[in-house]
Amino acid sequence: MLRILLINDTPRKVGRLRTALIEAGFEVIDESGLTIDLPARVETVRPDVILIDTESPGRDVMEQVVLVSRDQPRPIVMFTDEHDPNVMRQAIKSGVSAYIVEGIQAQRLQPILDVAMARFESDQALRAQLQARDQQLAERKRIELAKGMLMKMKDCNEEEAYTLMRRQAMSRQQKLIQVAEQIIAMSELLG
């Protein structure tokens, strides 16, 4: 039976995943310790599979585990699309990364990832939508308009107007388009 190390170091709740994996008959070791100790824990626990939130900063520590284990009897590798492109893609989508002892067959991993994908609380839906191209063109026109207004108001050249707008935006942690809109609004107000 495969032994699973479940790394629990992000706000995502892995509690339900743990229960579901145990119910499915897997041996699960829940790891909520310090990320820095991961290499030592992997050494002690000797898991066949390690599951970690794709967004966990601890992924870089796992990278060290992968490199250090290269010459050991049980090299640990990241489960990649070389093993099974479909499973890999599904896993990434649901936000779980899997590391396995080299040689474990993809089919044996499938049921684990199925459970993980069904149970891992996904926040993928919150991702920002890509901006539409027409919106981008509109933004460019608005920035040009504001620049022209500013050149008139401050009696300055194009280069100086851009610099003024950008500095204003950056010091307020805003995008250039936001400052452009403010200039346009102000200019309309003052007529």
């Binding site: 920035i143 950008r166 950056m170």
Partner: protein, 408 residues
Amino acid sequence: MNDSVGNGPISNALAWVNGSDAPEKSTLDLGFMALSDCASLVVAATQGFAQPYGLTLNLKRQSSWANLRDKLVSGELDAAHSLYGLIYAVHLGIGGVAPTDMAVLMGLNQNGQSINLSRGLQQQGVVTPEALDRHVHQSRTKLTFAQTFPTGTHAMWLYYWLASQGIHPLQDVASVVVPPPQMLAHLQAGRIDGFCVGEPWSANAVAQDQGFTLATSQAIWPNHPEKVLGCTQAFVEQYPNTARVLVMAILEASRFIEQSIENRRSTAQLLSGREYLDAPLDCIEPRLLGAYDDGLGNHWQDPHALRFFAGGEVNLPYLSDGMWFMTQFRRWGLLRDDPDYLGVARQVQQLALYREAATALGLNAGDQDLRSSQLIDGKVWDGSDPSGYARSFRLHALADHANRQALR
């Protein structure tokens, strides 16, 4: 200084948009890690530097280098703020992913990383490299040093610096990976004794009075390569015009950052925002302006502080810069055989594309593909004999296949 800049290049560059050189892909997702040296990407994306080229840049902050790498390889990110060594590790198949042909579009910055020690070591009088050397060789307990990624720049600076002081980084001390935002907590708890990291995390340790800066990375190698704009080779082949105008937009943003002190200050303010570094301005601004405080009472204006442009000197993807990381992978046993150093670098470093972009902006992109530098141990690296250079160090972990067999 201002009059050399002008908006001329921007309007000339509009020709790309109308002609057949228009970008094949107009919306790009760019990955970055929350570090001060991601500045040119953030400024380019938020301050309208890409729009004149018909490009929209979406910034995607990443939680780990491993994740950034995986997304670059899978195509979820088009390009990213990357550790120099990370791009080469992926290309050579070292680490978690299968080897994938990678590309370095341009250098994003030089300098500005540092090695810091705990207050605990300071209390034991370990405030100089010599004292550290004595401590390491005389103390019974092994010190633990953290870096940020096994094949990353911080690991290489840490190893190089320790070795230059007579300390073997893989034998005399323990080396662990810690994500930058967690460095301070581990230092405070005594789980690590020192670390090598980018800003604002070193300045933060000093500001919190938890550590001090013992060596800057620019002291190891003045104007060393650091982060690059990385992508897959497939991206460059599929979208060559996009890649070129992306480089142009980021070059212009880099130039803007260094155009005046005011611009650097407002860059620091922008970076401190919640969506970018989400860190206090007083940890970002001083070192971004070159003002160092090492936490031991020394203050100085660093002549080789973090820089993004320097007339384009920073951005040329020299073949020798890429090769250097391969020589260090070899030195520390990450590569088991000598790669075709020059051949690989020629494949990865997009020199021709970079030169097209730089020339279109009226920048001098030089005709040198190699540069010569002297590092802290006195050795000169000019890219001429990479395999000899990789073997020339007294302290190393060269792992040849032959040696490995003998060890077993």
